[in-house]
């Protein structure tokens, strides 16, 4: 069944990328949210470069986190409504690879664009140049972990109408360590400290999420599919 595992990942990944691509306007939403909110910070707080530079790592990370959270809510909603989820659950193969494929597609279409556009936001917020590389790396790894953890919440709140509030409450406690290590990576680089330690911790969180989240997602989907 090894080929089954493999093709499960590829099949779900490529199909979800295609589905996301066919709905490009939905894709733009987290990006637009990211850009607009961070544009508002200098206007709402203070346009002073020194102050903005201190706030920048935290602000970029918080907004990236919220943008991921907003987009993860509907990860399984369509599959649930149109019966795809039923078909997935009655497939004889393990669901781990299909689920990872779906989350990977979500990261590719949300987390990666957020990461790639972050230098623009960083410039606007006067983030010191030393922080740029750690920011890119921590966002790339961190948004993947955010997608995985968020997917657990999305699967759990699937049968609820307006489950968004509950989803936020459920995943926020799990998001905090990712946020702390993510923004700490950027901050310590700016302060001239060694930042590989916090980045390694973030990578460890991601590895843990890859191993555990699919199991939690499958359990949650089975529960949700009973309704």
């Amino acid at each position: 069944m090894t080929s089954g595992y493999h093709s499960g990942f590829i099949a779900h990944f490529s199909r979800d990328v295609l589905l996301h691509y066919r709905r490009r306007s939905d894709l733009a939403r987290p990006l637009v949210f990211f850009i607009i909110t961070s544009t508002l910070v200098p206007l709402g707080v203070v346009p002073e470069p020194a102050t903005l530079a201190t706030l920048a790592p935290g602000i970029i990370w918080i907004i990236a986190l919220l943008a991921t959270l907003l987009s993860i809510e509907n990860l399984f909603a369509e599959d649930w409504q149109d019966g795809t989820l039923e078909q997935m659950l009655i497939s004889p193969n393990l669901l781990v690879m299909p689920i990872l494929g779906k989350v990977a597609a979500h990261w590719l279409m949300v987390g990666l664009p957020l990461t790639l556009i972050s230098p623009l936001i960083a410039m606007m917020l006067y983030l010191p140049a030393e922080g740029l590389l750690p920011m890119l790396l921590s966002l790339a790894l961190g948004t993947a972990a955010l997608s995985l953890v968020g997917a657990v919440g999305a699967a759990l709140t699937l049968p609820l109408q307006q489950g968004g509030m509950l989803l936020a409450l459920l995943v926020m406690p799990l998001y905090t360590p990712i946020l702390i290590f993510g923004s700490a990576t950027v901050q310590s680089a700016i302060d001239g400290l060694v930042w590989s330690g916090t980045l390694a911790t973030l990578t460890a969180v991601l590895a843990l999420a890859i191993a555990l989240c699919p199991l939690a997602i499958i359990g949650a989907l089975r529960l949700s599919s009973e309704y």
Binding site: L18, Q81, D82, G83, E86, Q87, I90, P92, E226
Partner: protein
């Protein structure tokens, strides 16, 4: 052919929030047989299918596949299973061909896709997104899966809904050839099939009675 039924259902019932969604049900399905589940709206047809596929855990009773409980032989059971339900897993933004390829458990050659689409009379729609299709045409896309299917067991929940006369004839033809090669079908429908020999099973709200 073995004498053992492929599916046996014994006093299967399902209850949720003190409401009986499926009254105790017993039946068996032999190889090469089509079982027609009948019953009024709300008599538990869809619940029965969900129980049969292991998506719901029965409150009581047991489902066996070739004499073994389905919980014990999950992989071999699900490998032999194809289900087309109300919600047919059709993606609106994908084209007819993409949907068909995606829904098929085994990779399809271009010829197989073309043959399947021409059989359900959707040849000219291969590149059309499914959102532009009518309800009946979508059903045809979902049922086109049956044509290249290699599995033994078909579960069809209301396969004839929204189909026109020709569409029904196509589905019947598929079902007949599936039965001829030793496949088995459980399907629910509010209408009888014209040409296919089926055994009927009635679900009633109070309890089930065999015809």
């Amino acid at each position: 052919m073995s004498a053992e039924p492929i599916i046996t259902v014994e006093s299967l019932a399902f209850e949720r929030n003190h409401r009986l969604l499926l009254a105790p049900t017993d039946f068996s399905l032999e190889t090469g047989e089509a079982l027609h589940i009948q019953g009024s709206n709300g008599s538990g047809k869809t619940t029965l299918f969900r129980l049969l596929m292991g998506l719901l855990q029965p409150t009581q009773g047991e489902i066996s596949f070739r004499g073994q409980s389905i919980a014990q032989c999950r992989h071999s059971y699900l490998s032999e299973l194809l289900f087309v339900g109300h919600r047919a897993a059709i993606k609106e933004t994908l084209t007819v061909e993409e949907n068909l390829r995606w829904l098929s458990p085994n990779p399809l050659s271009p010829e197989q896709v073309r043959a399947a689409l021409s059989q359900v009379e959707l040849d000219n729609y291969a590149d059309i997104p499914c959102r532009q299709l009518s309800a009946g045409q979508r059903r045809r896309v979902a049922l086109a899966r049956l044509i290249n299917s290699k599995v033994k067991l078909w579960y069809l929940d209301e396969p004839l809904a929204a189909l026109d006369k020709q569409g029904i004839a196509v589905v019947e033809q598929c079902m007949q050839s599936h039965l001829q090669v030793g496949g088995s079908i459980i399907f629910s429908s509010h209408q009888d099939l014209a040409q296919t020999a089926t055994r009927n099973y009635n679900l009633t709200a109070e309890g089930s009675a065999r015809d």
